[in-house]
């Protein structure tokens, strides 16, 4: 007999989780460990190093950390994550959830449908849509703004992909925050209103403390996904001159275009490490929250 609600018990719980764990183990952990090994070699897809890769130890890591392009790429990725995941997706997603929290009817349905469509349309299609939108000559945006010839993707590549990714991923945050806001007791908001609190004061004093957990989940997942999002490659290909070469694009260029798989694997692990730092920072914040019993 067991103490959990469904009477699963450890044994059956393991049996329930096992199929997923086996699949994850085979198609995730195993390749991951292999990738770690590759990261220690000078393995290439072709050439002499493909036939006979040499162990280079931490050499790839040293090379990456010493590579200006890698460091630039880290910095661009930080901008990308901060701009599109944290400010863009989480910010806009929250704003939408907040505005629509007590709205019903067609307006909400249309806005939600559009936001969700941007999320579920296939990446390759979406890339075309944005290239068409931002094109220098025939782009719809230039036609609309009356700025023919404005080369958005060239003059503001980061801004373009940040706006793009905001467009692309806001749906997830919007849904999550909509659910979160339903958990904020209306009586708390109303207590603040009765005390005369402004909308901003209500957000600060009532809403944010309440949905901190959701904010953390959201920021964690969206930054993780944004960190590893390859779709911007389809729009700017990392250009011009690497000015939008975020880490996934960097890895793609290194591993696929240049065929340096060992080095690419090492960089992937560095990305993992950076992600880990992010996650730990979030969890740290979370632990701070947990010291406050709710």
């Amino acid at each position: 007999m067991s103490t959990d609600a469904a009477g699963l018990g450890r044994g059956r719980a393991v049996a329930f989780a096992l199929p997923a764990l086996v699949l994850i183990g085979t198609f995730l952990i195993f390749p991951a460990i292999w990738t770690i090994y590759l990261g220690l070699t000078d393995y290439r897809l072709t050439g002499a190093a493909a036939a006979d890769p040499r162990l280079v130890g931490a050499g790839n890591y040293a090379t990456a950390l010493g590579d200006e392009r890698f460091r630039d790429s880290v910095w661009l990725t930080a901008q990308f994550v901060l701009g599109s995941a944290i400010i863009g997706q989480a910010g806009l997603g929250f704003a939408l959830a907040w505005i629509m929290r007590d709205r019903r009817g067609p307006v909400r349905r249309v806005v939600e449908a559009l936001v969700l469509l941007s999320w579920i349309l296939p990446g390759s299609v979406v890339a075309f849509l944005w290239i068409a939108l931002l094109d220098r000559d025939g782009g719809t945006l230039n036609a609309l703004l009356g700025t023919p010839g404005a080369a958005w993707l060239l003059d503001h590549p980061m801004l373009s992909i940040i706006v793009f990714n905001t467009w692309r991923g806001t749906a997830f945050s919007m849904m999550l925050y909509s659910a979160a806001l339903e958990n904020v007791p209306p009586s708390h908001l109303e207590t603040a209103r009765l005390a005369g609190a402004s909308a901003l004061q209500q957000l600060r004093d009532v809403v944010l403390p309440r949905i901190k957990g959701h904010v953390l989940t959201n920021v964690l997942l969206t930054s993780l996904w944004t960190f590893n999002d390859f779709t911007p490659f389809l729009i700017t290909a990392g250009g011009p001159e690497g000015r939008s070469e975020i880490l996934p694009v960097y890895v793609y260029n290194v591993a696929l275009r240049d065929g340096r798989l060992g080095f690419g694997a090492a960089v992937s692990l560095l990305i993992l490490a950076i992600n880990l730092v992010f996650a730990l920072a979030y969890l740290r914040l979370l632990r701070d929250r947990r010291e406050v019993p709710g």
Binding site: L45, A50, A51, R136, A151, A237, E241, R257, G259
Partner: protein, 431 residues
Amino acid sequence: GEEGITLTITANAISGGKNAAGAEWIKQWVIPRFEAAQKAAGHEVRVLFQPNGVGDEQYKTKVALDLKSRTGADVIDLDGIWVGEFAQAGYLKPLTELGGTAVETWEGWKQIPQAVQGLGIFEGKKYGLPQGTDGRVLYYNRELFGRAGLPEPWQPRSWQEILDAGAALKRLPGVTPIQINAGTAMGEATTMQGALPLLAGTGTEIYTGGRWAGSSQAVKDVLEFYRQIYSGGLGDPKLQQEAKGRDKSFAEFADGRIGILAEGDYFWRSVIDPKTGVAPMAERDRVVGYARIPARRPGAGVRGQDFVSLSGGAVRVLNPFSKHPRQAWELLSFMHSAEAVKAELAGAARVTSRSDVNAEVLAADPMLRFVSEEILPITVYRPGLAVYPQVSAALQEATADIVSGRPVQEAAAAYRAKVEGLVGGSGNVAD
């Protein structure tokens, strides 16, 4: 023994998409005829075609992964530039090791000029059969030349004459005088149509005698030429940065908005062809002129030439892990027979690897005859080594630097530093 053999061909071609004609040729012509011929000879052979329709890098990756795991098609299409790195990785073996004596005695060798055979040769061994080759020229718009008061036909003899023509064209409103590919967005097109022909025009090759060109005067001269174009208002720097810049340059040329464009003969055949081109020019034959790419100064080119060019091309190789290498060779050589090559062209004109076919099919197209007769003798091929793509990328980055206004000296130094890193130290870099 040979009952029920299956052979597979793969290529980056697919019906209804990329290189559709090539795919159709394999499916409609090669497979039925080869199967019939084998049947006639008493062999039961089935041939399958595995089409692809993706970017070159992805195709290359897939083929490499297949070969790495000792699987894959028996006859494989490859870019000639990949032969070296594939061979080094053990993904390819010399044809003679696979096809046996039949290889040596194949009738086709006699028809393929030695220079063109080089496409499939690595370290002196033949790994593949070249499918065809091409050459780079300067295209110019005769109408614009006329309006700018420039002579015509036009054949510049030095870089300066190109710049002069550009200066004249600059006076026409809405016209970009010169488009020489630069920057990383253009990818290999920058190296093929820009940096390497120019480098050849200074008498240097990117890789000679086991060493890679560094920040030599030659490289600086090339970069200086770029600088003169892009900071002198003769080229459109934006075009060099867009992801789809090359396509756009095609469209602009077809539109009469570019004066001079360095491109391969592919541009003539497939881009501005009045009927089948992607950016068709109805008056191509009347409006578009072409000229050889001059050396920096007369006589300053490689081998002391006045004019230079660069060539590339695809090859077909045998899979070293094929279960039926001899039959695969039969299939491969069948695909390179004069009859097959002619069928592949399907009436179109293109510079093939076979002289006998060229003589026949190029008769009607003066431009391609020009390439075959005037350009191929002076052309240069790229080194088929694994690091070449990265050196090429470094070169592209150097041109990108110039386009975005960085001084020649700095761009050259940065390029040299990168190359040293790539090729394993300064010992492998010239100057």
